[in-house]
């Protein structure tokens, strides 16, 4: 704010008054009060749970070190913090902090590619250092590798949904339908489901005379994507003409109908045709793998069969099949993120953003509404399908009970929490929520039950039971206080705060339909 010669602007509201008074205090007073308050909070937290007190003190120290003038004070402060942790023997935390500090020292212009690179490297190496990691207060141990696979799969789905919701602004409440399509496509073509057919193509880990259709997963993933994208187009063509909330309701309808078909699909209207094996689901699915020939040709780098993997011991870590699933999921996610990033500023991506911001204006500027929306739908569906197929193969099963409306909202919650339209935000939000769902809620619940008590009263909460309500609360809080999400894209933030021209003109959609 610029100072003017006129009267200073009148300060209104208790928050602004307090803020102005605070700003008027001398600098060292403010520093002293802040540090004192932080120490007090740290001590209170310490009394509640020792590690929580330490964690708060660490975060506060990190904040103050970050506020220090650049060189040499900040570096010295960072070295002091790392040394403290080394002395106390928390090597993994010291190493993590060292990496974080190092990233902050990377010059601004290299950060755009250095940050993702470091993140990918850390993710790839995760199975090696995961057992050695420190315990996080409240949240407990770091997620294990199987949780990591689930997190990656859900991040993929969230990135896919982000194309529909974040880029194109079409609220899809039935994304779980695409997940289900992908999962069932993988299941049909790599299991005993169609036992009267006998078709083998590159599947591993089974005898050649096993009945059923068995196709290698590397063909099934794109196939599942394409089938799901086609389903997306078929669903989208009649419905994408609708706007806003009507579209949301229609997608919700599809999201409810498809799981019901899966549940009742073992005997369609008494015809005896078994498509989905009903509530029992389809299980087991074939193992993943590259087969002996490719495995030998790459010197065993690409495993022949994931489930019988691996005998290798790298860096003192016995590689397990979950690790290989984890790395494959990383590759799939990288592909998804790459496509999503490339699409974002492509001609199509810009058309999506135009539609999101003002459909009428976009139509007037010659953006073909139907085609653009359908592409958004199909692209989002594609990644949902691939993720679903991979997840089904990882679990070696698919059940109709996996595809409730809750999952759609769960994925939507990931996109909203992270920040609609910003792929990095979505990745962080999705990873965090998927972790919460698999391990975090149980861990935090156990912590709450163990540490929080009023007198002799202890809560005995089954926190994971309330998972959906917690996601609902996250949605509510984010929408009320930070509708652009935790790590927003600037554009969406501006739309959320300034509002967009959202009043549709009367007959535009008809014009597009006729065109």
């Amino acid at each position: 704010m610029t100072e003017t010669l006129a009267d200073p602007p009148e300060v209104v509201g208790i928050r602004n008054v307090l803020r102005a008074r605070w700003k008027a205090l001398p600098f060292w007073y403010r520093v002293g009060i802040s540090i004192g308050l932080e120490l007090l909070i740290a001590i209170l937290l310490f009394l509640l749970d020792h590690s929580l007190g330490y964690a708060f003190a660490t975060v506060a120290a990190l904040y103050w070190v970050h506020r220090l003038p650049r060189l040499p004070w900040r570096l010295a402060g960072q070295l002091v913090i790392i040394t403290i942790f080394l002395v106390f023997g928390v090597t993994s935390l010291a190493a993590a902090l060292a990496i974080a500090f190092a990233v902050f020292w990377i010059p601004e212009r290299y950060r755009t590619w250095a940050l993702p690179l470091v993140a990918v490297a850390l993710a790839v190496l995760y199975p090696f250092y995961q057992p050695k990691m420190f315990t996080i207060p409240v949240f407990g141990v770091w997620p294990d590798i199987a949780t990591g696979v689930v997190m990656l799969v859900f991040i993929m789905m969230a990135v896919g949904l982000n194309i529909v919701v974040g880029y194109a602004g079409l609220l899809d409440l039935g994304y779980v339908a695409f997940y289900a399509m992908g999962a069932y496509t993988a299941a049909w073509f790599s299991s005993l489901q169609f036992a009267n057919k006998n078709f083998h193509f590159g599947a591993v880990g089974i005898t050649p005379d096993l009945p059923g259709i068995h196709v290698t997963i590397w063909l099934l993933l794109p196939l599942a994507g394409v089938v799901t994208a086609l389903a997306g187009i078929i669903i989208g063509l009649p419905t994408l003409r609708l706007r806003g909330d009507y579209l949301a309701i229609v997608t919700l309808g599809f999201g409810e109908i498809l799981p019901q078909i899966a549940r009742n699909g073992d005997n369609f209207f008494g015809t005896g045709f078994n498509l989905t094996n009903g509530p029992n689901g389809i299980t087991p699915l074939d193992s993943l793998g590259f087969g002996n020939r490719i495995s030998d040709a790459t010197g065993g780098f690409l495993p022949a069969n994931y489930l019988q993997c691996c005998n290798a011991k790298v860096l003192g870590h016995q590689i397990q099949s979950t690790d290989v699933f984890f790395w494959t999921a990383i590759v799939l996610l990288l592909f998804t993120v790459f496509c999503s990033l490339r699409l974002q500023y492509s001609r199509l991506g810009r058309a999506w953003i135009a539609i999101r911001e003002d459909e009428t204006a976009a139509a007037a500027m010659g953006v073909p509404l139907m085609r653009t929306k359908t592409w958004a739908y199909a692209t989002g569906a594609f990644f949902g399908g691939v993720a679903g197929a991979y997840y089904a193969s990882f679990k070696s099963a698919t059940f109709p009970g996996d595809f409730f409306f809750n999952i759609s909202v769960f994925i939507l919650c990931m996109v909203i929490l992270g920040g609609m339209g910003n792929i990095w935000g979505v990745i962080v939000g999705a990873g965090f929520l998927a972790y919460l769902d698999r391990e975090g809620l149980a861990n935090t619940g156990a912590w709450v039950n163990a540490n929080i008590h009023v007198g002799h009263w202890h809560p005995n909460l089954d926190v994971p039971l309330y998972a959906s309500g917690i996601y609902g609360l996250i949605i509510l809080v984010v929408m009320l206080f930070r509708p652009e999400g935790l790590i927003p894209s600037k554009r969406v933030a501006a739309e959320m705060h300034e509002g967009v021209h959202d009043e549709p003109l009367y007959d535009v959609a008809h014009g597009a339909e006729g065109a």
Partner: protein, 350 residues
């Protein structure tokens, strides 16, 4: 506004490709043919199921009206409404059994108890619904239109968990107090008192609502706010209070529905509200969202379709497919006739 909108409506409908209409008519005709066949195969069963469907439709109507009222005034699909209805059922059970000691075999003593419970349950749900609006939707008045919709989903999940924390994950049972004796029995078609009581509770509430919206000052304010909030504010209507009042009315209708449902079906569970809410929303869309008589008509139709599907003997898909049928109707209506049976064409429909 209505007059402006109706003129292009007519021309649009004439210009529509007739194939679409023909398919729609064929689908409806096939449904009617299936019903007629069932009527000839098992006439007494048909009429009995129809009577059950009317009762179910009455409960749906109360919930659907809540959706339609809120949509009419805010253009918001209040996803949390179904869960408020679920809370209404739980309030009913708590008030009637814990406060008033309702139990089976009290004879006519149940009449004042049910009446008092109805009032309390309506009040509680109305207050909760108004509170939801105040906390969750009012701060988002100026935000993009999808923002409150997403918030509504969040609120719906929160309320489900409130129900879960309150009454636990299992079915809560209500005392089965409505007498099952027959009002009449005609050629094997039985009509029980419990169904009649549900209708007898619903209809006065509906009439009261119609009177409120069409005859009172407050109803006039609601209609004005629904048409144009800015203009209504200029005319001296307190828009925020009117919207709060609308949510309150919608919530108390859900409370009444919760009472009817919990005492008629005698079980409530925390996650039932959402499913039933979606069905009721379908009913509201079928009748034409924002249109009060339309919501009632749609609800009765949906109730009939549901019970016909589940109860008729001859080649009906059965209760496994009820959700799918209801949602198919929803999708077909939204795609082919978004204005619903009685509604006016809205820009949303396209």
């Amino acid at each position: 506004m209505a007059a402006d909108a109706s003129a292009p409506t007519l021309t649009n409908r004439l210009q529509r490709p007739s194939v679409v209409g023909a398919i729609g008519i064929l689908v409806v005709l096939a449904g009617v043919a299936l019903l007629l066949k069932n009527l000839t195969v098992a006439p007494s069963r048909f009429f009995e199921v129809t009577l059950i469907g009317l009762t179910t439709g009455c409960v749906y109507a109360l919930v659907a009206l809540g959706y339609t009222l809120v949509y009419g005034i805010l253009e918001l699909i209040n996803f949390a409404h179904g869960d408020v209805f679920m809370l209404g059922g739980m309030f009913t059970i708590t008030y009637s059994t814990h406060f008033f000691g309702l139990h089976q075999g009290q004879g006519f003593a149940i009449v004042p108890i049910v009446f008092a419970t109805l009032i309390l349950s309506m009040l509680s749900c109305g207050l909760i619904n108004a509170t939801i609006e105040f906390i969750a939707y009012r701060p988002l008045r100026g935000a993009p239109r999808l923002a409150p919709l997403i918030t509504a989903i969040g609120v719906s999940f929160i309320i489900q968990d409130v129900g879960l924390a309150w009454k636990g994950p299992n079915y809560v049972s209500a005392p089965d107090v409505f007498p099952h004796t027959k009002v009449f029995s005609f050629h094997g078609v039985d009509y029980g008192w419990n169904k009649l009581i549900v209708v007898a509770i619903t209809i006065p509430v509906l009439l009261g609502l119609l009177y409120l919206v069409q005859q009172t000052r407050q109803g006039k304010a609601m209609r004005a706010t629904a048409q144009d909030k800015d203009a209504a504010a200029i005319m001296g209507i307190n828009v925020n209070r009117t919207i709060s009042f609308t949510f309150m009315i919608a919530g108390s209708l859900a409370g009444a529905a919760g009472l009817c449902y919990s005492l008629y079906v005698t079980t409530v569970r925390f996650d039932q509200g959402f499913q039933l809410g979606l069905i009721a929303f379908t009913a509201a869309v079928l009748g034409g969202i924002g249109n009060l008589p339309g919501a009632v008509l749609g609800a009765v139709l949906i109730g009939l379709i549901q019970t016909w599907n589940e109860g008729l003997p001859w080649h009906m898909p059965g209760s496994d497919w009820t959700q799918s049928i209801v949602f198919s109707i929803l999708i077909l209506i939204l795609v082919f006739r978004p204005e619903g049976l009685l509604g006016e064409r809205t820009p949303e429909g396209g």
